[in-house]
Symmetry: C2
Subunit: 194 residues, 2 copies
DNA sequence: GTCTATAGGGGGATAGAC
DNA sequence: GTCTATCCCCCTATAGAC
């Protein structure tokens, strides 16, 4: 009894155009790139000012000129996520025609600026920084709102989101996406009844 | 075409009996309890030897007698998880009669020793400790194997696991379980075809 | 705007008394 | 088995030269 408002085409191939990767040279952005990168690759503990400065090819003093404290650096990254959130949601939903497939695929492969930032911030989740958890909840809610527009059944919509979040966990621990994951996505995309 | 090998009773209420909470006094166990607790509540950064010792009501020297290094402490917790894994899987699957509901409910409410340990270790995921990610992958695989025994369709089985993992993410960032989550579980439990 | 130097604090680990 | 005292390193942040 559930209807997915989509033209169910080839679900596994349609990919949206996301924000292009920027590795531009303006100091502030280079620092945020480096911070997000080290968070993704080695986690919170490894993300020291020294290491971030090293990756950004800048001195620690230079870094602290742009961001007066580590807290400020963190909020800088949260700001970037907030900034990219809307435009990425729009791009994901617009492009493929199929919201579910596009959403779930974007949960699997972090290859745009938004996903990079999002995954980096996930590494800071639940570690006492209330700002972080708040920003993450806001991001989740924004995606949920968008999914709700595309999927008429709210329960199915939530299910799709939970599956996407599950895929993030698997990525987090290095559990590779396999054929079954793709089949799950395929089934969620193609089925119009529960 | 999917058949869930279960007596589909009242899915939302059946709860298994898990391992009882131990807050016993043997130094080693108290230390592991404290370590897991601080990881869950405040994350990896806050989990210093000083803080763990404080919570375990022991001195740092005393702690380091039981676990010679922080690395050893970590592996101690991994050992506990491995130890509890099998028995918790068995308890979860045995009790309710319905594997899906039991699994998903245990993903929501961490109130047994295994879940406590598991969530704590999740805070260490993707932070460069290869042991941790390996242990987590093993735990995920063990649950997957068990779900596969209960759910005849492997795609549905994976879907159920992904939803459970998604619930963990939501818990991680303090997004409370709501009515929709319960409805998702209910639907996954009751439906026998995709 | 970027650098070096350094202060100040905290974390992990060792030594050795009890 | 548990404690105190201590060492050393690294991390954040500040000061100030260029």
């Amino acid at each position: 009894m559930i209807t997915v408002t989509t033209n169910s085409g080839d679900s596994a191939t349609s990919q949206p155009e996301k924000t292009a990767r920027h590795k531009r040279g303006s100091g502030r952005e280079r620092v945020l790139d480096a911070y997000a990168q080290v968070l993704r690759e080695e986690g919170e503990t490894a993300a020291t000012l020294d290491e971030v400065a090293r990756r950004a090819d800048i001195s620690k003093g230079g870094l602290l000129h742009h961001f007066g404290s580590k807290e400020a650096l963190m909020e800088g990254l949260l700001g970037r996520m907030k900034e990219l959130n809307e435009q990425d949601i729009a791009a994901t939903m617009r492009a493929g025609g199929d919201g579910i497939a596009a959403y779930l695929h974007s949960s699997m492969q972090a290859e745009d600026d938004y996903s990079d930032t999002f995954i980096a911030i996930l590494k800071l989740a639940g570690s006492g920084h209330e700002n972080v958890d708040q920003a993450l909840r806001a991001a989740f809610n924004a995606w949920q709102d968008e999914l709700d527009k595309v999927i008429s059944d709210p329960v199915l919509s939530r299910l799709v989101q939970l599956v996407g979040d599950g895929l993030y966990v698997h990525a987090l621990i290095g559990r590779d996406v396999d054929e079954l994951d793709l089949q799950v996505i395929d089934r969620l995309t193609k089925r119009t009844e529960s």
